[in-house]
Symmetry: C2
Subunit: 213 residues, 2 copies
């Protein structure tokens, strides 16, 4: 495992995309073999980059034959730690949190995502006790013990920007090492913790660049 | 403008981040000058990269003095086409669409985002006519004429995966050149149209990589 740590985030970012292409090809078309050319085309990257990315993790393809879809799919799942169910918690049951919880649960249930939302937290007494996507909303005071009890390893943060750092600090203290944050604010985490920010405003602002004035 | 087309997406991706840092520094701290060192630290990139990115667009900083916050802010807004309000439409008023519409409108109203949602479309008769974030949901049949009438230039797609390509095709035909897609599926657009995918499952799967097994 230690060796993988050196692999750049840009490479890691493309792995789930390759996995999705392979899953769709095997589910929808019962495809057994795929060339790096085809995998690249479907994933929107060059075949050379596909080969280079995968070479970091081993010898998966055969010259002139391509990749064995089932095998590469299993290997990518293992590399991404998705060969077993990953348990996640969501903090912040506002409208974005609810939408995300439902979206995530639907993808988990139809077998498209091996990440399962097992806990939802909020600090609003009106919301606590409610069920969202079949999960009861718990008071945020129970965060640490619930993370421990349920084996939660990943968290999604959908609280207002001003509370996001505080929530992230608590999650880190509780042992969470992978966090997806939706609050439009930059947060700091200690080394060894991975924080991704799904900053939807930044995405829109970036797109505006491409509009002709 | 033509010159800008050659600037890489990676550079463009960081511009809204710099803009946010500058906006926060001027609003919260009334800061007038900022070094590339400080701008880089706050944006989470190296000072050298800040200087290199900004140099694509002109001479903004002064050696030993840094950047004039107000000036650079205005310049970045202009470069990003955010000096004037950009009108956007949302297609798909399900739970994710609703959450996004409310989130976007809140940021627009408090002056944090110059992108305004002026139209929402859906094909469900139960939903058409409803108001979300103060915008009436219209039947998707009205897409083309509404885009024209209201001067919509950007779109957010929150429809189920199987309808996403069809919706994107209609938006492109209606003249939209910048689209943010939330459906977990790869879509194709003609050259000259910019499509960003906010694929939340891919983000989670990528994060799982960093979990120790």
């Amino acid at each position: 495992m230690a060796r993988w740590r050196k692999i750049s985030d840009a490479v890691v970012r493309r792995l789930p995309l390759y996995l999705r292409v392979l899953e769709e090809a095997s589910a929808d078309e019962d495809k057994k073999l795929m060339s790096s050319q085809e995998l690249g085309e479907r994933a929107g990257v060059s075949p050379a980059l596909v080969r280079k990315d995968l070479a970091w993790f081993g010898e998966f393809g055969k010259q002139g034959v391509g990749y064995e879809v089932g095998f590469l799919k299993r290997e990518l799942r293992r590399i991404l730690n998705l060969d077993k169910e990953v348990r996640a918690a969501l903090v912040g049951a506002g409208s974005l949190g609810r939408a995300f919880a439902r979206y995530n649960q639907a993808r988990y249930e139809n077998g498209k995502l091996n990440i399962r939302m097992v806990a939802i937290f909020d600090n609003d007494p009106e919301v606590i006790g409610e069920r969202i996507a079949d999960v009861e909303v718990l008071p945020v005071e129970k965060l640490e013990e619930t993370v421990q009890e349920l084996g939660v390893r990943m968290a999604i943060v959908t609280v207002p920007a001003e509370y996001a750092q505080e929530v992230v600090d608590r999650l880190v203290k509780a042992g969470i090492r992978a966090i997806l944050n939706f609050a439009p604010v930059s947060l700091s985490v200690p080394e060894g913790v991975h924080l991704a920010t799904a900053d939807l405003s930044l995405e829109l602002e970036r797109l505006a660049y491409y509009l002709d004035s």
